[in-house]
Symmetry: C2
Subunit: 330 residues, 2 copies
Amino acid sequence: MSQYDVLCIGNAIVDIIAQCDDAFLSENGIVKGAMNLIDAERAELLYARMGPAIEASGGSAGNTAAGVAGFGGRAAYFGKVADDELGRIYAHDIRAQGVAFDTTPLPGEPPTARSMIFVTPDGERSMNTYLGACVELGPEDVEDDKARGAKVTYFEGYLWDPPRAKEAIRLAAAHAHQAGREVSMTLSDPFCVDRYRDEFLELMRSGTVDIVFANESEAKSLYRTGSFETALEAIRKDCRIAAVTRSELGSVIVRGDETVVIDAVRIEELVDTTGAGDLYAAGFLHGYTAGLGLKACGDLGSFAAGLVIQQVGPRPRKNLRDEARRAGLL
Amino acid sequence: MSQYDVLCIGNAIVDIIAQCDDAFLSENGIVKGAMNLIDAERAELLYARMGPAIEASGGSAGNTAAGVAGFGGRAAYFGKVADDELGRIYAHDIRAQGVAFDTTPLPGEPPTARSMIFVTPDGERSMNTYLGACVELGPEDVEDDKARGAKVTYFEGYLWDPPRAKEAIRLAAAHAHQAGREVSMTLSDPFCVDRYRDEFLELMRSGTVDIVFANESEAKSLYRTGSFETALEAIRKDCRIAAVTRSELGSVIVRGDETVVIDAVRIEELVDTTGAGDLYAAGFLHGYTAGLGLKACGDLGSFAAGLVIQQVGPRPRKNLRDEARRAGLL
């Protein structure tokens, strides 16, 4: 018997979200649409220049865990916050969503991670992440029972940025595979792929990872190609299942010779793309761990992504399970 | 020459906003639609029961200051935060909106105030406020130059809850009137009116306050009447100008024998009523300090209130000046 459907591991980050125009991004050297890593000093500088903001718990894999729980799945999460106000907010939000979260908070400095997210009028988000307490996540934070007891252990490529999180991932993946479970990752960001291309490919080719999530840019970056088709054929060979998202073009799922094309859902208004990929993974993994076929998994992913991009913030405020039922998907 | 259009004084509060159903309110003894004052212990208890939330700077008069600045007016604010993470977020947000905010933060305990706001499916908000550092606001926080230099000094009735803020208000009002300026207040909440009825009436009848904002329930509570007309005729005699809001019925402004009826604006979807009264006051006072007539002031108030209730959180994310221009109001 599995204890959890999905265990997610990631950088535990509070999002600080404000609007800006495109000129602001270029004036401040922010790469649009990307996750820009920043240090404490630049965090202060950017915050001083940032407009009025709202705060919401985020972190890629944390959003996915919240999404799985929102669908009614059993989710757990490993991630490092500090023992401070933002850390307590983070822990509250993910637990209040029904996710099992027991990683010991870091006493003292550095503080809980935060990402200043600038949303431009086109709905695109550009992130500026100060990793804070996340740099302390390590193998000692892997709770063996959860890694062995989850149908799928899912982690973010972003975890290659802090120094020791990759050790935690290798340990958790070993536990999971020993228990006959599956392991999944998201490539996270095209620049992140560029920083850790060889390691990500090794994770896939060695079978450490079974299921890979990527968007089109990340897949192209992984194989240094401008062709989506080339990237798709390459990723098909490198892992058991790959789901590649393409924004308004939907997504494509490949498993061996099988190819499943998923339409994007129609939305009324694109507000903020933050969390789109995370919620796609949540919908997919909820369907997958419930035993649904790839088409149904992809449809749930598209549906959840479509919900989250019509609001400000990375975790849907609407009830995913109720909305998916209303849409006839569950 | 005035240095500011509007100086706002209030409890500096970070809002923690989540959704709930009506059963949750009654199970937890929360008075619907009201501001429920809570202590630290109950704050912890309620937070543990609260769903996933987002955080946004709030506080009634703080929202009004942000609204005035959002319209392009010159706004200042007095309010007490602690020297902690939420206090820094509060200060950032109000300054980033262009409001002059220089109140010295409280070193040490208690922490920055927070209000857990539960939004029910009908869009109504029910607030649970832990006053924290706000209890330390006192006359030493009145910056004379700002009180003398603002066309209107505006404060919230909620300031009668902390022990010494009323002394700050009397001092600021004295400075303002000595400089030939006007003083305005909001009655804040029907239960707040019930707590301080005699003092509020004395503020109005003594001429300490020139312009009063109230909603229908507050006006009725002030005069212990179930009749809107009775309340309106009474408030007409007790202050120079009164603006009484009536939700979807719009608002009524009285000045001596004059009566101006303002329609509510049409909205697409009522999401969260938090900040409606605060933004009405912002629009009104922006128009008033720009020299507009009462009808135009009321229309700006209605417009700003209509914007903020179509989003989650108490301060409009849309640019008030741009939107008002587009609507032909500025």
